[in-house]
């Protein structure tokens, strides 16, 4: 059997959780055009300066919505996130007047190939 790796896009809708004065999403991001792409452990291409999810809090809104560690965020509420600085990405995710953020993420997945033997 084989292991095939491919990436697919997924739309994730996260409802922010109110904690005191802040609205939190429950995950951490890394990357950006002003950061060092070679230190990103999740990217396949080490020159990729996109925004990646580096941590997901357990039981937080992001985990509930289905976000996984290593996802690359392509869009936030329609705003492009592939060519932004780290701080711009943070700002776009933490707008105070938005309760819901809709992310377009790309995930790498490994799937076992269907065995030839199963066909026969």
């Amino acid at each position: 059997s084989y292991l095939i790796s491919f990436s697919f896009q997924q739309r994730i809708e996260i409802h922010k959780l109110r904690q005191g004065d802040n609205l939190i999403l429950g995950f951490s991001i890394g990357g950006g055009i002003d950061q060092d792409p070679t230190q990103n452990p999740f990217s396949e291409d080490k020159t990729d300066k996109g925004i990646y999810v580096t941590r997901v809090t357990e039981g937080g809104p992001a985990e509930v919505a289905g976000l996984q560690i290593g996802d690359k965020i392509m869009q936030v509420n329609g705003w492009d996130m592939t060519m932004v600085t780290h701080d711009q990405a943070r700002k776009r995710l933490t707008k105070r007047n938005e309760e819901v953020v809709r992310l377009l993420v790309t995930r790498k997945s490994l799937q076992k190939a269907v065995q030839q033997s199963m066909m026969s």
Partner: protein, 525 residues
């Protein structure tokens, strides 16, 4: 020896000593040189009564001064060889004879030069005025009227002469600080140049103007103005030749004192050898530590021991085989098991320790004395605020408490000759007046200072002789060596040229110092 003395007399300053003192001086130097050859055979134990210092070092020692001197001297003079004994007494005689002829011989030469220069200067200064006035006096009626142009020229002549006067005064009329053996070449050249110049102007004036009674007064006045202009340019030339040319450093002179090897380097420009010698001597009094014959006794005693050990007997018969004898002596000396290096090491270590111990005691004693003064001052202030203690009284009050420690320290470092009780008291009251700390007071005694710091009687070096193979008026060159001798020691000067420096440039782009710091930050949202 005679050959060396002939060389000296040709090139150094003997020529300007008058007859009788020359003989006395030569005799002095003969007597000074001869005992050296007999050094090895002299015994090491000789008690010398040196010329006593101005006052005995401690007041309470004065009562037993004679016995005190013997006791003290026994401690410090383990070996006074014949040389130092003779040089001290010889110096006195030489000093007396030189004082006599100083006032006669040197002044003549100096004043002759000065009068010639002054007469020439006066002549030169009055020449333009004479040029302008003579036609007015002699044929006033024939002269063409001149009007405003001439008056303007008169004003310019007046001011230029004033500037020339001030410039000459600033440049030439200075107190001569030294007397040099030969005449200044550049100064003489300039005087000759000025003389020729003025002479030619007078010649022209006499022939063309006086004889023919020229009526163009404006032309005459312009001629006088041109003379003054040319004189100003000669003055500029004088500044460049005499002052500016030697400012840029071209040579580095190494000066080494022959007795203890103390050396210094000085930077000079293009100077004649006699002027370079003058600069070296001026700096000698400030930079070199004072010459202390007492410090040389240790090495002299060692040298005497080397020589005194062996005597040569010629067994084979008459016949003075000098080279064979010296070879035999050297071989025997090499074979002898010499432990003098061991002695030297332990002696020096011992001396070092003793000096340090005494220095510690001295510093503590002086500090205690000074705190005592501060306490006294505070008390006096409390009692009667208007009354201040006289520093002299304060000095005398605390002096006995530190006198012993100071005397012991000076004896150990062999400086006791240079400080008398009176001078110490004076220095102490000076320090108290100026609110100095104990360390500032001790600075003068802890280590020997430059010659200028001490009393003139203790200098051992006032009359100098320049000994050089080249003529003393020739300029400095790379590799020239000359010697400045005084009675007890000499300064050997070695001239080296400062190398030609090739300096190149390297440009560093400021952008090469810029770095981009790439981060990897993680933000939680």
């Amino acid at each position: 020896m005679s050959a060396a003395m002939d060389t000296e007399s040709t090139y150094s300053g003997y020529s300007h000593y008058s007859g009788h003192s020359k003989k006395a001086h030569r005799q002095g130097r003969d007597r000074h040189k001869s005992p050296r050859s007999k050094d090895g055979s002299r015994s090491e134990k000789s008690v010398t009564i040196q010329t006593p210092p101005a006052e005995p070092l401690l007041g309470n020692d004065a009562s037993r001064a004679e016995e005190g001197q013997d006791d003290n001297w026994g401690e410090t003079t383990t070996a006074i060889t014949g040389t130092s004994e003779h040089s001290i007494s010889q110096e006195d005689i030489a000093r007396i004879s030189k004082d006599l002829e100083d006032s006669v011989g040197l002044d003549c030469k100096r004043y002759l030069g000065l009068t010639v220069a002054a007469v020439l200067g006066l002549l030169v200064f009055l020449t333009p005025i004479a040029f302008i006035l003579l036609p007015q006096i002699l044929w006033r009626d024939d002269l063409e009227p001149c009007g405003t142009v001439c008056e303007g020229l008169f004003i310019s002549v007046a001011f230029k002469l004033l500037i020339l006067l001030i410039g000459t005064w600033a440049l030439f009329f200075r107190q001569p600080k030294a007397d040099l053996p030969r005449v200044f070449v550049f100064r003489a050249l300039l005087l000759v140049l000025i003389f020729l110049f003025v002479f030619s102007y007078w010649l022209f004036y006499g022939v063309r103007i006086l004889d023919s009674k020229d009526t163009n007064y404006q032309g005459i006045v312009q001629y006088a103005v041109s003379l003054v202009d040319a004189l100003l340019f000669i003055h500029y030339l004088a500044i460049v030749l005499l002052e500016l040319r030697q400012l840029q450093p071209t040579f580095a002179l190494k000066v080494v004192r022959s007795t203890d090897g103390e050396s210094r380097y000085y930077s000079l420009g293009h100077l004649s050898i006699q002027r370079a010698a003058l600069v070296v001597l001026e700096n000698y009094y400030r930079d070199f530590t004072v010459y202390n014959p007492a410090l040389l006794t240790a090495s002299k005693s060692r040298a005497a021991k080397h020589m005194a050990g062996l005597k040569v007997y010629n067994v084979d018969g008459p016949g003075n085989n000098a080279s064979g004898q010296s070879r035999a002596m050297i071989a025997a000396a090499a074979r002898r098991r010499d432990s003098s290096h061991n002695e030297l090491y332990y002696e020096e270590a011992d001396h070092e320790r003793r000096v340090r111990k005494r220095r510690a005691r001295l510093v503590v004693a002086v500090e205690e004395a000074f705190t005592h003064i501060k306490r006294l001052q505070a008390e006096e202030q409390q009692k009667a605020p208007a009354e201040m203690m006289d520093p002299r009284e304060a000095a005398q009050a605390i002096f006995p408490s530190m006198a012993r420690a100071l005397q012991k320290y000076l004896r150990t470092t062999r400086q006791q000759q240079y400080h008398s009780m009176e001078s110490i008291l004076q220095h102490l009251s000076f320090c108290i007046t100026n609110n100095m700390t104990p360390k500032a007071f001790l600075e003068r005694y802890l280590s020997p200072g430059p010659t200028l710091q001490y009393d003139r009687d203790r200098w051992f070096s006032k009359q100098w002789t320049l000994v050089s193979e080249e003529a003393v008026t020739s300029g400095l060159q790379d590799g020239v060596v000359f010697v400045l001798k005084c009675l007890d020691f000499s300064l050997v000067v070695n001239v080296k040229k400062i190398p030609f420096i090739k300096l190149s440039e390297e440009f560093i782009d400021p952008k090469s110092h810029k770095f981009v710091l790439r981060l990897q930050s993680e933000t939680s949202v």
